[in-house]
Amino acid sequence: MDLGIIAYAVPFLVIGAKTTLLIAVFGVGIGLPFGVAVGLARCSRSRVLRRVCDAYCAIFRGTPMLVQVFVIYYGLAQVSFIRQNPILWWMIGDGLNAAILAVVLNTGAYTAEIFRTAFLSLPKGLIEAAEACGMHPWHVFRRVKFPLAVRQALPAYSSEAAIIVKESSLASTITVLEITGYAKRLMSETFAIMDIFIVTAAFYLTINVVVLTGLKLLERRLSFAR
């Protein structure tokens, strides 16, 4: 490894890491509640709602995120209606916003699947016990369904969180300079592909080790005595 190149690369990557974190934080912050809501909707009694959410999940899980990013950023930009609507254009006109939108939509679909199975596998009696004392569905959800589902979903969701951090790299294809954006530039400037790659990976690894260990600790904290 060439220390000179690494020393040159790190300051750029640090700047990029801030953007990566920004995307990831928004991705988790919006994507998790959104995904949980979709997961709930997929277990709901309304057939239409279920179908719509199923389709959404099928599409966003079934296609590569790169394509989703492209369609959202370049594809939608070709629709003049969207270009004229200030709110829509605010969402996709700017690369960073479009990236966050894509990450949220993508992770939402995966999160929904994780939580859907978690919700389906909850012992029904526990929910009935909550309903039987007249709890509002929202409270049933918040105090019984969600805490129990989270405990089961956490291992799988921790993977999803790590994926969000890594997939945020696709933002570099739509002009957002996060870690990978800078890394691409540095690589073609210096051709020190492996060196820069390894440093870049170290950045992602650091973020993810923090995320994954954090979630592991949370999991341990939440596990109740058997």
Partner: protein, 246 residues
């Protein structure tokens, strides 16, 4: 391998290196490669790979040379060896026809006019560096490919784009590009070789001097007998050859 020259190339760069569905590579780079093979009496074997794996693959002897429009810069030369430069493409700014920038003439004027404007370039290119070094006040956006750059220029996300001349020839011919024009200021690599490099060269593993002398000689021959010009005219309708200094 005996009797074969293995060539790494990207395969997805229009006009330069295009791998068709059957895997056959055409384009300016392919012509240069075939020329070199003919000179060296070797059989050409193309290996199509993504850009970021080209250099490590060559390092590990998956192929012998990279011919993929690589610009020669001092920094890159720390990692790989280059042949002599054989061609360079002129660079232009493109703006929409009704833009006030359309009439500008000098780099200084442009630099001033670009303050606060968003400018698009393809990431990692020598001219992206150039933009960064020269256009301080501009909001630089980097793209992975020229198609994305031109798409954003068309959709109005960026005010100005900077790329090589073949890109603009292509783009202006499309319906989207009809409203755009290039600023009449030709920038060549020689204008600022420290940043823009010395033109395109063939990349080789470091220390492979035997091959380098052979390839250099072959290229020099091709330049001198007009083969490079021929290829350049074929793909770009213009002569981008850099004369052989030896």
């Amino acid at each position: 391998k005996d009797g074969v020259l293995r060539i790494g190339t990207e395969g997805d760069a229009p006009k330069f290196s295009m791998a068709d569905p059957s895997g056959k590579v055409t384009g300016f780079d392919a012509d240069i490669a075939n020329g070199i093979c003919a000179e060296l009496k070797l059989k050409c074997e193309f290996v199509v790979q993504t850009f970021s794996s080209l250099v490590p693959s060559m390092d590990k002897d998956r192929f012998d040379v990279i011919i993929s429009g690589l610009g020669i810069t001092a920094e890159r030369q720390k990692k790989i060896d280059y042949s002599i430069p054989y061609a360079t493409t002129p660079l232009y700014f493109a703006v929409s026809k009704d833009s006030p920038l359309a009439g500008l003439k000098s780099l200084a004027e442009i630099e001033k006019a670009l303050q606060g404007k968003s400018v698009g370039v393809v990431t990692g290119t020598t001219y992206a560096r150039f933009m960064e070094k020269r256009m301080h006040g501009a909001d630089l956006k980097t793209y992975d490919a020229v198609t994305q750059l031109t798409a954003d220029l068309a959709s109005g996300r960026i005010d100005v784009a900077f790329a090589d001349s073949p890109t603009w020839m292509d783009f202006f011919a499309t319906p989207d590009g009809a409203n755009f024009t290039r600023i009449d200021l030709k920038i060549m690599a020689m204008d600022d070789p420290d940043v823009l490099g010395h033109g395109m060269g063939v990349g080789m593993r470091k220390g492979n001097t035997e091959l380098k002398t052979k390839v250099d000689a072959a290229l020099c021959n091709m330049i001198n007998d007009g083969k490079v010009k021929e290829a350049s005219m074929r793909w770009f309708q213009d002569d981008y050859t850099i004369p052989c200094k030896k």
